[in-house]
C-alpha cells in the first residue's frame, strides 16, 4: 500500500502463525483519531498469541494517539494475546507511560433511571422547590418590612442618594415606554369596543368602557408588567452579579446590612414611583381612547371629558391608585429576593433574572384578582 505522504494514521499488519506485527504509520494525533480508531477496530487478534506494535515508522504521536494504542493493547490482552510495543523513541515511551498511568475507570454522568420515575421525581422536586421558595420569599418579605419599619423609626438610616437613583432608573426612565404602550392599548381598546358596541347602537359607551377598564385594571396592570420586566429583572441581575462577585459578603463583613443598603432603596423607589407611573399610564390610555373616539365617533374632546366625568366616580380612580404601591412593593421584593438567591455562576444570574420577571408578573396578577374580590365584597 503506497500511502506515504498521505495525511492520516493507519496500521500495516505483518503476520505469521502466532504473532501479529502492527506497523503504525502516519501521524497518530487527535486530528486523525477517528481513522486510527477505525483501523484498530479492524484488527482481529483471535488465535494470536502475541501482538507487537511497531512504532519505528510512526510520524507524530500525541496523547490521543498514545491513548488509542494503549486502549488497543489493553483490549488485545483481555482477548488473550500478549501485546507489546517496539521501536518507540524516548519521548514516545514517556508519553505511553503517562497515558498508561492515566488509564482508570471513567466516571459517567449519573445515569437516567426509569423515565416515569424521573418525571415523578422531577415533579416532587419542583413542588418542594416551590414550597421552599414560598417560605423563603415570605421570610424575605418579613425582613424587608422589618427593615422598612426600622428605617421609618430612624429615617436617617435611609439611603437617600441610592433611593433617588433607583427612582430615576425605575420610574422616570420608564415614563416613555409606559406612556407609549398605554396610549396604544387605550386606542386599541376604544377601537375594538366601539366596533362591538356599535352593534347595539351604544357607541357612546365606548368612553365608559375605556375609562373604567383603564382606571380600575388595565392601566395599573400594564404598568406593573412593564415595571416587572424592566426593573424587577434589573434588580435581580444587579444584586445577583454582586452576589457572584462576593460584594454582598464584603458588605456584611463591613457591617453593612444588604437589606438596608441594597433592597430598601429599590423597594421604596418602586413604592413611590408605581402610583406615578400608574397615573401616567391611565392618563395616556384615556388619551389614546380619546383620539379613537374623536376620529371614529366624531366626539369632540370637550364632550369626551364631559362623558368621562359622568362615567367615573371616586372609587374607579381610587381602586386603581391604591393597588399601585402594593404592586411596586411586590415587584421590588421579588426582584431583590431572586437576586439574593443567585449562587456561583453567570448562568444562575440568568435563571434568577428570568424567575424574577415570571414570579413578579404572576404575583401581580394573583394579587390583582384578590383586590377585585375585595372591592366587589366592599361594593366599591
Amino acid at each position: 500500500m503506497a500511502r506515504e505522504g498521505e495525511a492520516g494514521a493507519w496500521l500495516e499488519a505483518v503476520q505469521d502463525a502466532t504473532t501479529l506485527v502492527l506497523k503504525a504509520k502516519g501521524d497518530w494525533i487527535v486530528a486523525h483519531a477517528d481513522g486510527a480508531d477505525k483501523s484498530l477496530a479492524q484488527v482481529d487478534v483471535r488465535g494470536r498469541r502475541s501482538v507487537i506494535f511497531d512504532l519505528a515508522a510512526i510520524g507524530k504521536l500525541d496523547t490521543t494517539g498514545a491513548w488509542l494504542l494503549h486502549r488497543a493493547q489493553r483490549q488485545f490482552q483481555t482477548q488473550g494475546a500478549v501485546a507489546t510495543y517496539i521501536g518507540a523513541n524516548a519521548a514516545q515511551a514517556t508519553l505511553l507511560d503517562a497515558v498508561t498511568k492515566g488509564d482508570r475507570p471513567t466516571v459517567d454522568h449519573p445515569a437516567h433511571g426509569n423515565p416515569i420515575m424521573v418525571i415523578v421525581e422531577r415533579m416532587g422536586r419542583t413542588l418542594e422547590e416551590i414550597g421552599i421558595t414560598l417560605r423563603d420569599a415570605t421570610a424575605f418579605f418579613g425582613l424587608v418590612l422589618e427593615t422598612l419599619g426600622k428605617t421609618i423609626l430612624n429615617p436617617r438610616r435611609m439611603r437617600l442618594t441610592s433611593t433617588v437613583y433607583h427612582m430615576e432608573q425605575a420610574g422616570l426612565n420608564a415614563v416613555p415606554i409606559v406612556s407609549l404602550i398605554s396610549f396604544l392599548i387605550g386606542a386599541v381598546l376604544a377601537f375594538q369596543g366601539a366596533q362591538q358596541l356599535r352593534k347595539f347602537g351604544g357607541e357612546v359607551f365606548t368612553v365608559n368602557l375605556v375609562a373604567i377598564s383603564f382606571l380600575r385594571e388595565v392601566g395599573i396592570l400594564l404598568t406593573a408588567i412593564m415595571v416587572a420586566g424592566r426593573s424587577g429583572s434589573a434588580f435581580a441581575a444587579q444584586i445577583g452579579s454582586m452576589k457572584v462577585r462576593e460584594e454582598i459578603d464584603a458588605m456584611r463583613t463591613l457591617g453593612l446590612d444588604p437589606a438596608e443598603v441594597l433592597v430598601l432603596p429599590r423597594v421604596i423607589a418602586l413604592i413611590v414611583m408605581m402610583p406615578l407611573l400608574g397615573f401616567i399610564a391611565a392618563f395616556m390610555g384615556l388619551s389614546g381612547g380619546g383620539l379613537v373616539v374623536l376620529l371614529n365617533l366624531g366626539m369632540s374632546p370637550e364632550m369626551y371629558i364631559q362623558r368621562l366625568y359622568d362615567a367615573l366616580d371616586f372609587w374607579d380612580v381610587f381602586t386603581g391608585v391604591i393597588k399601585a404601591p402594593v404592586f411596586g412593593l411586590l415587584i421590588a421584593v421579588i426582584g431583590c429576593f431572586e437576586g439574593m438567591k443567585v449562587e456561583g455562576s453567570a448562568e444562575s444570574v440568568g435563571q434568577r433574572t428570568t424567575a424574577s420577571v415570571v414570579e413578579g408578573i404572576f404575583t401581580v396578577i394573583v394579587v390583582d384578582a384578590f383586590f377585585s374580590i375585595l372591592f366587589i365584597q366592599l361594593g366599591v
Partner: protein
C-alpha cells in the same frame, strides 16, 4: 532547549486610549522552552499575552505565529492556529454551564469529528493527566476549588494536544503546596508532551523551578531575556530588587536545597 522561534513579536505597540502599554517590544518564543514573563504590576504582562492571542489588536508592529504574520492571516489560518495552542486563563475561565468533561470536549467538538465514546475517553485521560480525581469529570466548575478549576482549565487547554500553551499566572491564588504541585505538573507535562510554555507569573518559585528562560517587561518593552542565572547578574534596579529581594533570596535558597519530592 532552543529550536526555531515559533512566535516572534517585533516592534509591538499597544495602547488603550492615550495610555501606551508597549512600545518597540520584541520577543521570541522558541519551540520546546518554558518562557516566564515577569514585570511589575501594570507593565502589561497580561496585555502582551492577550495581544499574542489576538484578543487585543496591536497599534503597530508584527506578530508572527508558526511562521505566519498575524496581520496577514485569513480566518481559516487563524482557526488553524487556534488548534495548535491552548490557553489557561487566570481563574480557569471554564464555562460555568458545562461540566468539566464537557468543558474539555468543547475544543474537540469544535475542531474535530470524533465518536462520543472516544471523546469521553480523551476527556477522562486529560483529567487524569492534570492530576484531578476521576470524580471531577461530571462536576460543574462552581463545585470545584480554585486549584481544581485551574487544573481543569489546563486540561481544556491541553484537549487538542497543542504545541504551545499560554498560562496566565498559573500559580496565583494557590497555596504553596498547590503551587509547587502545579509547577511540577507543568514541568512533567512539558517533558512528556514536548510542550512550549508561555507563562505570565509573579511566582519566583515557579521561575526557579520550571522556566528555561525569563523575559522581563519594563519601560514598555522586554528589557532583557535569559535564564535565571543571567537574571541574577543583571544590574538594572528593578531586576536586582526582584531577584535579590527577600522573596527572591528565599526562592533561590529553596532551589539550591534538595529538590522537593
Amino acid at each position: 532547549m532552543t529550536g526555531d522561534a515559533i512566535i516572534s513579536v517585533r516592534d509591538l505597540k499597544t495602547q488603550f486610549g492615550d495610555q501606551v502599554i508597549h512600545e518597540h517590544l520584541d520577543l521570541d518564543i522558541y519551540a520546546g522552552e518554558v518562557l516566564g514573563i515577569v514585570g511589575g504590576s501594570g507593565t502589561g504582562k497580561s496585555v502582551l499575552l492577550r495581544t499574542i492571542l489576538g484578543l487585543n489588536p496591536p497599534v503597530a508592529g508584527s506578530i508572527e505565529i508558526f511562521g505566519k504574520l498575524r496581520s496577514q492571516m485569513t480566518p481559516e489560518d487563524a482557526h488553524a492556529v487556534e488548534r495548535r495552542w491552548g490557553v489557561l486563563f487566570q481563574d480557569g475561565a471554564l464555562f460555568s454551564s458545562l461540566t468539566v468533561t464537557q468543558n474539555i470536549q468543547v475544543p474537540l467538538k469544535e475542531h474535530l469529528k470524533l465518536p462520543v465514546q472516544l471523546m469521553n475517553e480523551i476527556a477522562a485521560l486529560k483529567i487524569a493527566l492534570v492530576g484531578l480525581p476521576a470524580e471531577a469529570g461530571p462536576k460543574y466548575p462552581s463545585e470545584l476549588s480554585g486549584g481544581m478549576r485551574k487544573r481543569a482549565g489546563l486540561a481544556r487547554a491541553l484537549a487538542l494536544d497543542p504545541e504551545i500553551v499560554f498560562l496566565d499566572e498559573p500559580t496565583a491564588g494557590l497555596d504553596p503546596i498547590g503551587a509547587s504541585a502545579f509547577d511540577e505538573l507543568i514541568k512533567n507535562l512539558q517533558a512528556t508532551l514536548g510542550l512550549t510554555v508561555f507563562m505570565v507569573t509573579h511566582d519566583l518559585d515557579s521561575l526557579y523551578a520550571i522556566c528555561d528562560r525569563i523575559a522581563v517587561l519594563a519601560d514598555k518593552r522586554v528589557i532583557v531575556t535569559g535564564p535565571i542565572s543571567e537574571m541574577l547578574k543583571q544590574e538594572q534596579p528593578w531586576i536586582r530588587e526582584y531577584f535579590h529581594g527577600p522573596r527572591g533570596r528565599a526562592a533561590m535558597a529553596a532551589k539550591s536545597a534538595p529538590p522537593r519530592s
